[in-house]
Amino acid sequence: MADELLRDEADITERGVAREAEDPAAPLVDAAEIAHQDLGGPGLEPEQEVLTINMGPHHPATHGVLRLIVTLQGERILDCKPIMGYLHTGIEKSCEDKSYWKVIPFVERMDYLSYFFQMEAFCGCVERLIELEIPDRAKYLRILHMELNRIHSHLVWLGTSALDLGAISMFWYCFRERDTILDLFEMSTGQRMHTRYFQVGGVFEDIPVGFERKLREFIDLMPGRIDQYEALLDRNEIFLHRTRNVGIVSRERLLDLGVTGPLLRAAGEPWDLRKSPGYLSYGDFDFKIPVGTIGDGYDRYRVRLQEMRESVRIIEQVLDGLPEGPFISDDRKYVLPPRDELSTSMEALIHHFKLVTEGYRVPPGELYYSIESPRGELGCFVLADGSSKPSRVHFRDPSFVNLQAFREMSVGGLIADLIQNLAMLDPIIGGVDR
């Protein structure tokens, strides 16, 4: 896939050499030591002084309420500490007091740009705990919405990141397409965001008449739109200068730090959980995993754009191969009976009553289930104690883990690049803080 990145061959070699010249194993500058030496000493040049500044928590470029304590020497960053928790709402704790089906709307509010993925992580985990098979059509519909969600999430990322780098018009273009996606979500699920569309056992409703036509219009349009984004950014001198060779962390180090998703792929590691066996029906579709070469900001941008194209391809294949049949399992112990059965069947009424009042019970057990969200490996751990409420729900949020690489991306660079690094890291603070 490297060839798809339209790279200038000579350029790559030149940059590769430049990277090798710096010893990656060299220890980072010890900020405390320098601070100790230099603090307030007489006769220092202004650019030698060490300055600690506080960025955020309400900085528009921190994409939420992330606070950064940055130690600077002149324009160079000596140390950078992310402080989070300003958006902590105790969702994991609250989930322990809700029956399983009421947990779904809670968890999708964690990472508010990838709500379908949060639902899939949780519902998939519970389905595996109760060993419930979901119908093929439900799998396809889930993939359809998740891939749309991936495009939506990347569009918000592209718009806001370009905005951070001074390209304001990108924001409007990206949000135009994002709005089309939200309209599609509204059409199929009734809500634009936080849809509660996935249920344990399948999805809440089948897609409505006319949805397919609208969606096909959109996927016919989207590749051309992505070309337009590229035309706006790829030859933009400012954008290239600010992203190229900035924020490089080696692939090995990223793996050690547990970084996954586009950040890892941009560094050249073709790692995507969608290719792992047994994850919905991704095996039915033909798609590629875009990878970058050196993992700078520019690679991260290219990888995400290419991922949008691959998502469009997956959606196209989903629509072409959408199987007929039920969209939700008919196991009445876990799934609500259809509304029309309630007036004719006593049993349906009993099941409905039990499911709505107490909820279903999940046999004791614990499971970690992970999927590929737009930001990397999103894992959900559910501990069931046999009652109708989970005893623990934990999310391994990719933004939270990826943020650990932020210090190494930024230290040694310029403070202006800090913004670029954070934008290309794409953390969603709602997911970080949960």
């Binding site: 105790g90 704790k93 007091d97 005893s391 623990r392 949960r434």
Partner: protein, 186 residues
Amino acid sequence: MPDAPGLELIAQGIDKGRAGTVIETSVEHDRATLVINPDGVLHALTWLRDTPEQGYRFLSSVHAADYLPATPRFAVHYELLSRERMERLHVKALLADPAAGDGSNGLSATEKLPELDSCVELFPTADFQEREAYDFFGIVFRGHPDLRRILMPEDYVGWPQRRDFPIGGEPVLFTHNEIETPRWFE
């Protein structure tokens, strides 16, 4: 996921280096689990990471859970992944609660906390996640370079995700209830 005989081989391999590390093995919901003695965490994780034929070199997740009223009360879960074979292995270290039965309610400064060796040296990704487990469950990771609260405020008292921590909430101040919370402005 390693199959049941494979899991037994792993357990034997770990026990060969340090007897009594593996307490139990199980395969449930298509997932292999090793229950290990908390003292042997570093040994087991090092063995799983560095043995060439195992190669669980990627740590997906570290998280804690509270099993109240069971004993031992806590567990720290390590989700290991071998990226070459696309195999996951779940390692679970059971931790007893040293404060059990002494009547402390998790609010006293001298409270005894469960302790475990930190695996940040082996897997740098565990840094934030161990801090999170400390923050919410009060599990102390020995040797962690910077064990502070991460999501809760630094001056917070208590371990909020323990099962015996009340859900509760702070009263929200409105004009109709400001008399009930006198001198709220101080």
